[in-house]
Subunit: 438 residues, 2 copies
């Protein structure tokens, strides 16, 4: 039996007979001849069908029909890969008789008003060559992240997504019946990654996290993919920020090196990044923004989305770096497991990493001292005896070193790398308030 | 500030002052001297404390206390790493004052009657050096799998765990309220990986899957980690089996090469594996088992656990291979998306991969023809218009090539590699009917 070759291998078989398999990607009749484009996982091959009885086999068949084609590989400077298949014999492996509801052979629209149609037809949309580049890049992004984590001695962990109770705050949690008990879906692996610092010092996880946010913005979905990292024996918050910027620089420069063509086809912006990411405190940001725009944000406890966009633009121009750390968040935004800034107790050792105007990671230092942690928990109105906390606290009682880490949104990072406008475009099958399918 | 070195780096600093950080792993007084073992992520360092005022710093402190130690690195043939720290200065970074509820400095018991205690104290148990080897091996297992998948051109995907409704059968599914609609937790990425064959031909995912099985055996948990693969344009079921055995051989030989010491310390069995895995049909297995044991299983629709153990033992002895494919399952065990065996319609193109007596993967071929699939769905009493099926079927209607894949249990594979007796021992924080914490 002849071995299948892939579309980008034809060049190595000029003058020989080859066997191709794939999907009917395009069909065009021109003066008695038919040009067929066949799509496979690597690309698209051009086939010239001159024999009418062969062309007739495609009569009534639609794009997406699965074909097997044997023929002669011939040099042809005008063909996409400078090579064409002549004298083909076609076998229809699987006929498609209905017209597909979306275009498969040209880029799909990503205008915000069309997004719902895009997601509704995602099952076929992912076959679109332009569309699948997003998910190829996303796949590689994950791979580069893992390379970096391995290189820096982080152990990959897999922690439970079914939890005993709402732990990080009651709202925005999916609840369900678990053999007669109430269980919730993990909003993050926060507690588990901290616990695992006790075993490996450095751990990470890439996995799903669930947020019951009744929100339909372009930044929120109810199922996200998170990269979570945690590292122990840090000297200070600085170590966390250093590791974060090293990761970002490694991963982004690699993506831009390895996926030039795909990024270009998406009109992705040029990468403007430095190994050291500029830092601004929340206070500084409010002051700079207020001074420049005249809109007064001084004293605000959070950073406005328009400030996030502004500071990234600013830093791109002034520092040659479109990523920015915003540091020293006001104490009001603190979670009980964060560490208060010892130099300024009105702030917390928490930084946000912004990239191209969007928060893509939060990078806090944790409170690792048992008594202090219990105290902070009580101040936040939480019960240290709750089963969701009891085990967590055990890790501290029996010795956890100073540590910190980050939560990185893989969806948002993919969105921003490619220059998409909505986080859902970077997710294969997004979930939000209104969308639970496909 | 002096830079921390790790326990296995001391050898490179003989005669110099070093800074170590870690956990108090053991403390032993001997004739006026105190030996301290300090644990870090790489191993354990031995420190000789002769100065009483330094030793006194540890008075009343328990194992797990977080320490910083500076001292002279000195050659010492009797010490574990042939090196010892002399004239140390100790700093207590974080005191532990309560006696830990489990042993951290010696291997924990893994007897079946102690397992509940093991999981109850897992937060501290993972710090145990012997215990953490399990999860280091598991982490590396994932890495080798990804290496193999990349090498074979599989694209990693991340598919939703929140689904619109029970799809693969109604029972054993966790259900919850999703903004007023009923949602379920994914039992597997089955439909999505098949859908994604339409985009990439070859895809895989490593992620959680949820099974509401009211079962407390040593083989079942309600949250598992699955490696799911799917490949398109296969010639026959054979291609799926070939890819499965290639993966198993690659990953296992690599694990056994790279983790000799850890596996030895767990008394893991020697690996007895061949690149080509022996195959037996269900019928053959029943006949062989019946003939040998006198227990009549002929005609049974499923394979008994004791048959699984027997055939692996048999194959280990007779074929030099402790992995086995059991093929051609009776049609009764078929799911609607499986392909009926064209050579024998009383069986289905489904193989189980057994390793060391346990099913660790199922490797079926799928029915890819739309009309046939709808027909099989209806025969199974399912409604093709259900939102859980509607989108799935779209992928077939608009052209999916012949395909097949596998679902590999990462937990079970880890269990069997190390030679543990219960799948839960291979999971960081296992979930079953009775256990929802830690």
């Amino acid at each position: 039996m002849q071995k299948r070759i892939l579309s980008d291998e034809i060049n190595g078989h000029i003058g020989k007979e080859v066997l191709l398999k794939g999907w009917l990607h395009k069909k065009r009749a021109m003066g008695g001849m038919t040009f067929v484009l066949l799509r496979d996982r690597r690309g698209v091959a051009q086939i010239l069908v001159e024999d009418k009885s062969e062309a007739d086999k495609l009569d009534g068949l639609q794009l997406g029909t699965v074909l097997e084609i044997t023929g002669q590989a011939v040099e042809e400077p005008r063909a996409p890969l400078k090579v064409e298949i002549h004298e083909p014999k076609l076998t229809v492996l699987l006929p498609v008789t209905e017209v597909p509801p979306i275009e498969i052979d040209k880029p799909l629209g990503h205008k915000s008003e069309n997004l719902d149609t895009l997601f509704e037809h995602r099952v076929l949309g992912v076959r679109n060559i332009q569309e699948r580049k997003i998910f190829k890049i996303r796949s590689e992004l994950n791979r580069y992240i893992r390379e970096f984590m391995k290189e820096n001695e982080f152990v990959e962990i897999q922690t439970p997504k079914i939890l005993a109770g709402a732990t990080e705050g009651g709202a925005e949690v999916f609840k369900f019946d678990y053999f007669g008990k109430e269980a919730t879906l993990a909003q993050s692996p926060q507690f588990y990654k901290q616990i695992m610092v006790g075993a490996f010092e450095r751990v990470f996880e890439i996995g799903p996290a669930f947020r019951a946010e009744p929100s339909t913005t372009s930044r929120h979905v109810s199922e996200i993919t998170m990269l979570d990292m945690e590292m122990g024996f840090i000297e200070s918050h600085e170590d966390v920020l250093k590791m974060t910027e090293k990761l970002l620089y490694y991963v982004l420069t690699k993506i831009y090196e390895e996926h030039k063509e795909e990024l270009k086809s998406w009109n992705a912006p040029e990468l403007v990044l430095k190994p050291e990411i500029p830092r601004y405190t929340v206070k500084e940001l409010h002051q700079m923004y207020t001074k420049t725009t005249g809109i007064n944000t001084i004293g605000e406890k959070d950073v406005r989305p328009e400030e996030e966009r502004w500071i990234c633009e600013y830093s791109k121009k002034e520092n040659g770096c479109e990523a920015v750390f915003v540091t020293e968040f006001p104490i009001e935004s603190m979670k009980f497991y964060h560490m208060v800034n010892p130099r300024d107790p009105s702030t917390v050792l928490w930084a946000d990493l912004l990239f191209r105007g969007l928060e893509i990671a939060t990078c806090p230092m944790r409170e690792h001292r048992y008594e202090k942690l219990v105290e902070q928990m009580k101040s936040a109105g939480l019960d240290p005896e709750h089963p969701g906390y009891k085990y967590y606290l055990q890790a501290f009682k029996f010795g956890l070193p100073p540590h910190g880490g980050f939560g990185f949104g893989i969806d948002r990072l993919t969105e921003k790398i490619i220059g998409l406008g909505n986080v859902k475009e970077a997710i294969l099958f997004p979930r939000d308030m209104n969308r639970l399918t496909p």
